[in-house]
Amino acid sequence: MKATFKVYRYDPELDSKPYYKDYEVEVEPTSILLDVLNDIKWHQDGGLTFRRSCGHAICGSCGMTINNQNRLACQTLVKDVDISKPVKIEPLKSYPVIKDLVVDMDKFYNKMFKVKPYLYNESTPVAGEFLQSIEDQQLIEEAASCIWCGCCTSSCPSFWADDDYLGPAALLKAYRFIFDTRDDLKEERLRIVNDADGVWRCHVIFNCVEACPREINITEFISRLKTKVVTTKL
């Protein structure tokens, strides 16, 4: 069967303003959207530009907006979208467009770096590993599976309204270390997230949870972070 894909195009070097271009592609219900984009690039229009690498939802390169939802193209199948109308494919919202579906994610990465995203400990065991219970490891495992794709932060109305807001991904990253039994920078990180642009800007809208391709319950983790902030003497 055939489906039409209405794709956002903009090359600041060549175009005075963005436009949409329609591509008709032969698809199956099980066709993957990333394969559709590759098919267009390789066989119809070599200029169409997007990032991609692993092709199975673990590298986080191909975050984009598909029919107004933030998703990974490699994790979205034709049967998951309505093809009775042209399928609209656009770059992730709120990040500057470099070209077509490629956005400048520096703003997103810099927020991640703000929460000191690394384990820090004053001293390591002389022999062997830090011991950690199964339960303590499970406190952080889901949060640690974030792939930095940027889908959540780009979907967050609080982030649309306030560019300085740390956003869901950076708060999730802070959670991942604050709740890691091996980390010694907890209070410093709690102070960072307790800032005016931190956890209190989260209004529990759940867009991030809906957008997350890893199905991480981000809002829940931010809520636990809020509790931790108010129950810790800073």
């Binding site: 690498s53 092709g55 673990i58 590993e129 219970s133 930095w148």
Partner: protein, 585 residues
């Protein structure tokens, strides 16, 4: 405008091996990492099952030791792995894993709080440290995060095209830096450095069915081979037994580690025939060859009888969802199969290149030439390789699962330490005036060409030819047929066109330059396959079914020659503790 940079050390590639080297050097040297993708997008992140190390945390099958890990690796390599290298590896792997734990990797745990370890193919002990089925992701993120703490400089989304190599006073070659460009602007950049580490990963994308990322195009192999330097053992390409049918997406060996089994159309657990002791946890070469044999003899499943089943639902839903959550997701998303209830359709998929850039056994420095006695007699001074890009040779003719993640951190670290020790004696390099001219011209020629063939057309033909000519089973006529096609595609590449003429984020131009690399090392793969007239490990020749130690217990060193077939010489294998035996599982 060409931009110049100087750093003491340049690392090319931001996966586990490159980042590990950078983290080792960051406290004492000016080190920068150049990566064509943002670091956490590197292919290491896709590794699922875990990293092998004789920690002896899980002693269900008895105490573990470095010697046993060494033996399993030597046997797994079909005796082609260099034993001095394997011994170092087996001794260092536990330290490297513990270091990663101290740096924050959220390893899965045992009830006593220690790192959990699972079984894997070809390993006699349960020695695979893991983090559910996202081990590569967890290791890479922890390591990248430590590099952030150490302020490692990244050139993210910059593409390295070539090495700058000169002749040294002592008859060796010497590295001076690298040439590449900023993907965002297409502006040429030249990096001068005292030492360079190639951690550019592998290149499964020369095959039509692969678990490898789109970005996995063997750029390091291409750079080395085009520079007239040898590639080693390229015939040893690993086909992972369980790629998700028909896409080839990786389904970790951890599924079989957790109790999964392979079934044919008769419902038989066919590995009983091929590996009576190890069964489904035989090494990958044995298992992929078994699956292909089942299919060829008509016992495949599905309408085309072209794949087999991997059953895991008998271990129970809770076990699957806690230990293999991503696998459940992949099977469900891409094939609609709920693996808590039904078997996963799988087929072998191109996964890993055991061969690569030959390195010195003790330092990781790149070997430029082998003398008549079969030992290296010339190196590229201060140029190193690590990880899948390198051929140490740790894996020989067949890599054991979970040895590659340990490989990256053990040898990334070793290369870092070696550079650390030698840096003060290296003079700041001079560069010739014409550096970068050739690369700038190459980009311009491709961009200016208006008539010819598209990148994708040539690449698709390459991938099909490689699969038809050199997948799990090989034979002379098919190999030579594939070589003829590749040689022809190399000619056609001189006429390649890109439709995208913009300097901004020109992914099509990048794909063209990647394709040139692919066309080069694909030739080396086929040349190695044709030369090695025996069956060993992952290289299975239907016309030479036996291993032939008399002629081929040697590494293959493959050199590019203009307008001719590649030149091949043999390099000695380091055999210290374990003499070759017949390999049974």
């Amino acid at each position: 405008m060409v931009q110049f940079h100087y750093h003491d050390v340049i690392v090319v590639g931001a996966g586990l091996a490159g980042t590990r080297a950078a983290v080792e050097l960051a406290p004492i040297a000016d080190v920068a990492v150049i990566s064509k993708v943002f670091p956490t997008r590197s292919h290491s992140t896709t590794a699922q099952g875990g990293a092998a190390a004789a920690l002896s945390n899980n002693t269900k099958k008895g105490m573990d030791s470095w010697l046993l890990h060494m033996f399993d690796t030597v046997k797994g390599s079909d005796y082609l792995g260099d034993q001095e290298v394997i011994e170092y590896f087996a001794k260092e792997a536990p330290k490297a894993i513990l270091e990663m734990e101290h740096w924050g990797t959220p390893f899965s745990r045992m009830p006593n709080g220690k790192i959990a370890q699972r079984p894997f193919g070809g390993h006699q002990r349960d020695r695979i440290a893991y983090s559910a089925d996202r081990s590569g992701h967890m290791l890479l993120h922890a390591l990248f995060e430590q590099s952030v703490r150490l302020n490692v400089k990244y050139y993210s989304e910059f593409f390295v095209m070539d090495l700058i190599i000169d002749d040294d006073d002592d008859g060796n070659k010497v590295i001076r830096g690298v040439v590449g460009y900023d993907i965002r602007t297409s502006e040429l950049h030249i990096w001068q450095a005292k030492a360079v580490v190639l951690a550019t990963g592998g290149g499964g994308r020369i095959y039509s069915t692969t678990s490898n990322a789109y970005e996995y195009t063997g750029d390091g192999y291409g750079m080395i081979y085009r520079a007239g330097l040898p590639l080693q053992d390229m015939e040893f390409t690993q086909f992972h037994p369980t790629g998700l049918y028909p896409l080839g997406i990786l389904i970790t060996e951890g599924v079989r580690g957790e109790g999964g089994m392979l079934l044919n159309s008769k419902g038989e657990r066919f590995m009983e025939k091929y590996a009576p002791d190890f069964l489904d946890l035989a090494p990958r070469d044995v298992t992929s060859q078994a699956i292909y044999t089942e299919i060829q003899e008509g016992r495949g499943v599905g309408p085309k009888k072209d794949h087999v089943y991997l059953q895991i639902h008998h271990i129970g839903r809770d076990n699957i969802l806690s230990k293999l959550p991503d696998i459940w997701n992949f099977a469900m998303t891409y094939t609609g199969v709920d693996c808590t209830k039904e078997p996963i359709p799988v087929m072998p998929t191109m996964h890993y290149i055991m061969g690569g850039i030959p390195t010195d056994l003790h330092s990781g420095m790149v070997v430029a030439h082998v003398g008549e006695d079969g030992n290296p007699d010339q190196w590229v001074n201060n140029l190193y390789a690590a990880g899948e890009a390198a051929c140490e040779s740790l894996h020989g003719a067949n890599r054991l699962g979970a040895n590659s993640m340990s490989d990256t951190i053990v040898f990334g670290r070793r290369v870092g330490k070696h550079i650390y020790d030698s840096l003060k004696d290296i003079k700041t390099p001079d560069l010739n005036e014409d550096v970068g001219v050739e690369q700038e011209k190459k980009m311009k020629v491709i961009l200016d060409r208006t008539e010819g063939e598209k990148v994708s057309k040539i690449r698709e033909e390459l991938q099909d030819a490689m699969w038809a000519g050199s997948s799990v089973f090989r034979e002379e006529a098919k190999l030579q047929g594939a070589m003829k096609i590749v040689k022809d595609l190399q000619k056609r590449f001189n006429n390649v066109i890109v439709e995208d003429k913009s300097p901004s984020f020109n992914m099509e131009l990048k794909e063209a330059i990647e394709l040139e690399n692919m066309l080069n090392y694909a030739e080396a793969v086929l040349a190695g396959c044709d030369f090695r007239k025996e069956s060993r490990g992952a290289h299975s020749r239907v016309d030479y079914k036996k291993r032939n130690d008399d002629e081929f217990l040697k590494h293959t060193m493959i050199f590019k020659q203009e307008e001719k077939e590649p030149a091949i010489v043999q390099r000695n294998v380091s055999i210290t503790r374990f003499q070759p035996q017949e390999r049974r599982y």
